[in-house]
């Protein structure tokens, strides 16, 4: 694929400020929004922005929010999300968001202002070594030291962010380069060189899958990034193979499909983990087999030969031994497999893999709770539009959302899967909402994560972004409390957390607020929030000590899954 960047040299002045070149480069790359926060070292760019009305600017309340908004925008559109901040604290505040995008393969381009080259390395005011700081959490970094280097750097950053395995790229631009003059050069053409399909490996994989008696597919984020949903479903149906999903693979296949097994791993379904353990051939598509998926590696899928498709060569064989590794884009590899494998039928295996999903012990527990997590998540699902997007924060509610929302539309679930960054949900949801103005977007967060980035409610109100924030408020940092209860002899240490009055907070920002303390209030409050034309906050006072089940104990094998509370 070639990225051709249009130019209109006839109508432009010969030389322009570096700051204008930043904006022109973004325009040429099709950027329509930048999430940012101004400061001294990026003042020239902010000075230029009003002259480039094709680029909207969303003023965030903290730079972490800018990175997460760019992340949400990118996940919703597949296009790079762009954030713009100043040097020093502006850049350091981006770090969590960049690491999140890096871990989850999200194309984010961060433009950071830098102090002038004359004072770089002299500990100038608001100077940090941005490139040194973000190297391990970015796909690439660029430092254009002159105005003439700015446009090529930004174009290259945009290309790198989306090509191959996507990821964040930082362009650190010194202030003197922003102020200097340079000519706008013609757009460059960058080729997206994809590896040729490894035909031999695909033949070997096809042979293994065709001969399998208990085939199983694990869909990771790579399925969604490659837009390979149709191919995944077709191959699964052809092989009659059940499909388990990683946290970020949720939405890779409709959960209405008979073949969908749900999430595997630490908080995956017990039946799903049992199926993985019983499979004789596993096809992993676009995942890295991280520890939350595998549990104790030595005991993961002990009977299976593993075929691993990934676009990143460094992932294949890194965490689990593979029988066949296929270095390729997920969609291309799946297409190649579809034409090679015969149609198979495994009714007994499918029935065994699907198992029984009833959980009477959990239901009995829930009946004693005033506001149990599962009915709350199901109520949100019931009230929300069928094609609504859900952005989960990190913690217990994240797992409840993953377990109970049931996605039938592709790619409607976003969360900070790899980094597990609390505070992600609200700003990322704003990025999604900005990209998809007419779509309903729900953020689901705990009371801990909410208090990390709640100030972005101000951004929601100022920008008129009608995100609905559902706070699963249990007065605890719930997941840590659960681990303290289960694995640290019940010693509760620094996990009870107080909250402000979220209704008052919402109203103070100019948003809608509602508080729910029992089941009777639940649906009316959710519906009122949904009807409200602007942003809304629903404080859901859920059962304080409800736990996430099932759970694989830390360090344990998936076969050690604890299915629920002891009676």
């Amino acid at each position: 694929m070639a990225t051709a960047i249009a130019t209109d040299t006839a109508t432009r002045p010969a030389a322009q400020r570096g700051a204008d070149l930043v904006c022109l480069a973004l325009e040429r790359c099709g950027v329509d929004v930048v999430f940012g926060y101004p400061g001294g070292a990026c003042l020239p760019i902010y000075d230029a922005l009003p002259d480039h009305p094709a680029i909207r600017h969303v003023l965030v309340r903290h730079e972490q929010g800018a990175a997460h908004m760019a992340d949400g925008y990118a996940r919703a559109t597949g296009r790079p999300g762009v954030c713009l901040v100043t040097s020093g604290p502006g850049a350091t505040n981006l770090v969590t968001g960049l690491a999140c995008a890096f871990m989850d393969s999200v194309p984010v381009v961060a433009i950071t202002g830098q102090v002038s080259t004359a004072v770089m390395g002299r500990d100038a005011f608001q100077e940090t070594d941005v490139l040194g700081m973000v190297g391990p959490i970015t796909k690439h970094t660029l430092l254009p030291r002159t105005a003439a280097e700015i446009v090529p750097a930004i174009e290259r950053a945009m290309h790198i962010a989306v090509s191959g395995r996507p990821g964040p790229v930082v362009v650190d631009i010194p202030k003197d380069a922003q102020n200097a003059l340079a000519e706008l050069t013609d757009g460059s053409i960058m080729l997206d060189v994809r590896p040729a399909l490894p035909e031999r490996a695909i033949d070997e994989a096809a042979d293994l899958l065709a001969a399998a008696e208990r085939p199983l597919i694990i869909a990771g984020h790579g399925v969604r990034i490659a837009r390979a949903h149709a191919e995944l479903r077709e191959l699964a149906e052809r092989l009659d193979a059940p499909v388990a999903m990683t946290l970020l693979g949720i939405g890779g296949i409709s959960e209405e499909s008979e073949l969908a097994l749900g999430m595997l791993g630490m908080h995956g379904g017990a039946v799903t983990n049992r199926a993985v353990n019983a499979a004789d051939v596993i096809l992993g598509v676009g995942l890295r087999f991280d520890d939350r998926v595998t549990g104790k590696i030595a005991a993961f899928a002990p009977k299976a030969k593993i075929v691993h498709i990934d676009v990143d060569a460094t992932q294949i064989g890194k965490n689990v031994p593979t029988a066949v590794g296929i270095l390729a884009d997920a969609r291309e590899a799946l297409r190649a497999l579809i034409v090679r494998v015969p149609r198979r039928s495994h009714p007994e295996w499918r029935a065994r893999a699907a198992g029984t999903k009833s959980r009477p012990r959990l239901e009995a527990f829930e009946a004693r709770m005033s506001l149990a997590p599962r009915p709350v998540i199901r109520a949100i699902r019931e009230v929300a539009a069928p094609d609504a997007y859900f952005v989960a924060d990190v913690g217990q509610h994240q797992m409840w959302a993953a377990q109970y929302l049931r996605f039938t539309h592709p790619d409607r679930f976003l969360t900070s899967g790899g980094l597990g960054a609390m505070g992600y949900a609200l700003p990322a949801a704003l990025g999604v909402q900005y990209a998809l103005r007419d779509t309903e977007v729900w953020a689901i967060a705990g009371d801990g994560g909410t208090q990390m980035t709640l100030q972005e409610l101000g951004t929601a109100v100022q920008e008129g972004l009608p995100v609905k924030l559902a706070i699963m408020n249990n007065g605890y940092l719930g997941m840590v409390r659960q681990w303290q209860q289960l694995f640290h002899d019940g010693r509760i240490s620094q996990t009870p957390i107080s909250s402000p009055d979220y209704v008052k907070i919402a109203e103070a920002y100019g948003a809608f607020g509602a508080c729910v303390t029992d089941r009777a209030q639940l649906i009316p409050a959710l519906e009122a929030a949904q009807r409200h034309p602007g942003p809304a906050v629903i404080d859901l006072r859920i059962e304080r000590e409800a736990n996430v089940w099932p759970i694989v104990p830390p360090g344990g094998a998936n076969a050690d899954t604890i299915e629920g509370p002891s009676a």
Binding site: L131, G132, G135, P136, H140, T141, T314, G317
Partner: protein, 76 residues
């Protein structure tokens, strides 16, 4: 653990050396010797002699090759 030498041709770009050293650190290679020579056509020739297990050595080579600044990487 076996000792091997990685030979890399790397673009002379901001942060390129740090990215190479990042792989050495993340893969836990036992660094024995590191040399960087400026070559004529805008790149560095880097030689890294390090001890590593078979699995980490292979993964390190793939990670070197995955770096955008690295033109070629091989081990001997």
């Amino acid at each position: 653990m076996t000792m091997r030498t990685y030979r890399l041709s790397v673009e002379r770009a901001e942060g390129a050396l740090e990215r190479v050293l990042g792989v050495v650190r993340r893969r836990g290679l036992g660094l024995h010797r590191l040399s960087v020579d400026q070559a004529g056509d805008g790149h560095w020739d880097i030689a890294i002699t390090a001890a590593a297990s078979e699995s980490e050595a292979g993964l390190a080579l793939r990670q070197f090759n995955a770096l955008l600044d690295v033109r070629t990487a091989r081990s001997e």
